[in-house]
Symmetry: C2
Subunit: 306 residues, 2 copies
């Protein structure tokens, strides 16, 4: 039994009001697998890099118990590269460079040893590639979580809808939920998206937390108010990885466990933004995670006495 994460493993160059990095390691699968590894020790990734990707960074994933057999290394090619600059409010950013490189013709090959996959995290990629992964698994995983973005709604809506139909949980942000459904109200958006197939919908609202919708029930999770958001890159992927990692750990899929999974995912995301790139995620201790979970409890729990 294992948790499979598919997505990008890549280089990012990031500029925020707090500083600037050269090329550092990033990518949805990197963040999500590291986050999941805090809760579950059988995390495997399918991704592609070029021969410019440092061996030491692959070792770093392995040190976090992330299985990289499915990480293709393309000789003579370069890894996916993104450069971006965040605005002062940290809620918006400009993309400065996008070099697809190895990603342009990525064929997600699933190693035989990955066929025990029970939990599947589809990080943001073309809906076609996401769908291919589902089809290449001999047994349908117990839980499929899918991330996507507005870009695919703009250029590949039919493919996207076909893929969404195949998953259990769709995790998108509020503006994406509005675009996908054509509804401004998130309650109405959730109803329309439920009719597209997924039993669970997570709407990520950044500094305003996240909403979980399923079968008429709603859960509202807070975000931890932070004095400084150092670098928001990867926060959504970290959230998703923590979310599915926690569910893989507890093993039972129901609304109450999903609520807790959202709190665990949010807690890891709150660490992610404290430093550039994956720096904070690769240095976390279980005690720090537990303490942060307690902060979420204090932040949002109350006891009504009528």
């Amino acid at each position: 039994m294992s948790l499979l994460v598919i997505g990008t493993v890549a280089f990012d160059a990031i500029e925020t009001p707090f500083g600037k990095t050269d090329k550092i390691v990033g990518g949805a699968a990197t963040y999500a697998s590291l986050a999941a590894s805090y809760f579950y020790d059988k995390v495997k990734i399918v991704a592609v890099v070029g021969d410019d990707f440092p061996e030491s960074e692959i070792k770093n994933l392995n040190n976090h118990n992330v299985d990289t057999e499915g990480l293709q290394i393309k000789q003579g090619e370069k890894s996916f590269f993104w450069a971006g600059k965040y605005h002062n409010d940290m809620n918006s950013r400009d993309t400065l460079v996008t070099e697809l490189n190895v990603l342009a013709d990525f064929d997600p090959i699933i190693p035989e040893s990955y066929q025990d996959c029970e939990y599947l995290m589809l990080g943001n990629l073309t809906p076609q590639i996401q769908q291919t992964v589902i089809k290449r698994l001999k047994n349908r995983p117990k839980l499929i979580v899918m991330d996507t973005m507005n870009f695919w709604m703009d250029i590949a809506m039919d493919d996207l809808l076909e893929t969404i139909k195949m998953v259990d949980v769709l995790a998108i942000n509020d503006s994406e939920a509005r675009q996908l459904s054509g509804e401004y109200s998130l309650v109405k958006a959730a109803r329309k998206i439920a009719a597209m197939g997924p039993k669970y919908l997570i709407i990520k609202k950044g500094e305003h937390g996240a909403l979980l919708f399923s079968e008429g029930k709603i859960f509202s999770a807070p975000a931890l108010p932070l004095a400084d958001v150092f670098d928001p890159t990867g926060a959504g992927d970290t959230f998703a990885g923590g979310f599915i990692g926690y569910l893989a750990k507890v093993g039972t899929i129901n609304f109450n466990n999903m609520k807790n999974a959202i709190i665990y995912g949010s807690a890891l995301a709150s660490f992610c933004v404290e430093k550039f790139g994956t720096e904070r995620l690769t240095s976390l201790t279980p005690a720090e995670v537990s303490a942060r979970i307690q902060e979420f409890v204090s932040l949002s729990q109350f006891a009504i006495i009528e």
Copy 2:
């Protein structure tokens, strides 16, 4: 012992994507006193109207146990009137008409029978008038809650800062907190505003809920996700009235009771927006309020099992 609400009692004409009203009764003191009356039966108001204000509407307040001895009726003058039109997203609006009328030279006279005031809600008015009310009370109330708006930050910052220094709880929205503090991060904004005097700061975030800050502690309350927001007018005043009304009921001021007060205020605000004006607020039953509180519990409570 009583709860005194000061603010406007006025006429509003409202247009939303769902419809349009003629002049209907509105005003911060109207919404706040009606909301408070659901939890506390000694609510009194200080406000001013013209002789155009219907006797039946004053009776309506009295029917909700709101004492109107302090409601001045100016013969030969007209009541404050505001007309506005909400945009499709309901988060922004255009003011079409503002007629100050009786409000232009409002002198807040406190009837002798109001001097037992233990809880004081300062609805949005000029900081000078808010301050005058505090000074005219012979005994400093046990709890003073103050609402204000960006307009006073633009034109009367010195007066505003002087008044803020005198209150226990400041309740403003996120953009107002940013303007008042000059900080984008709400955590940093809260620190600066705490240094201005108030022991408690509530930052209202509309559809994203509310944050309570006090002495390094933070509480994040959700907003109830709604399919339709029919008319947002008065939601903030309803929140404030429900908040202070609940605290007057429980009688003890501490962080835990404040958390619950925010949930009660949010619950009443979620009713307010379901219909135009005060319609929903004047027809609520205690059973409906209890059921709505339970919705907030389901919405935000979780149980971590490690």
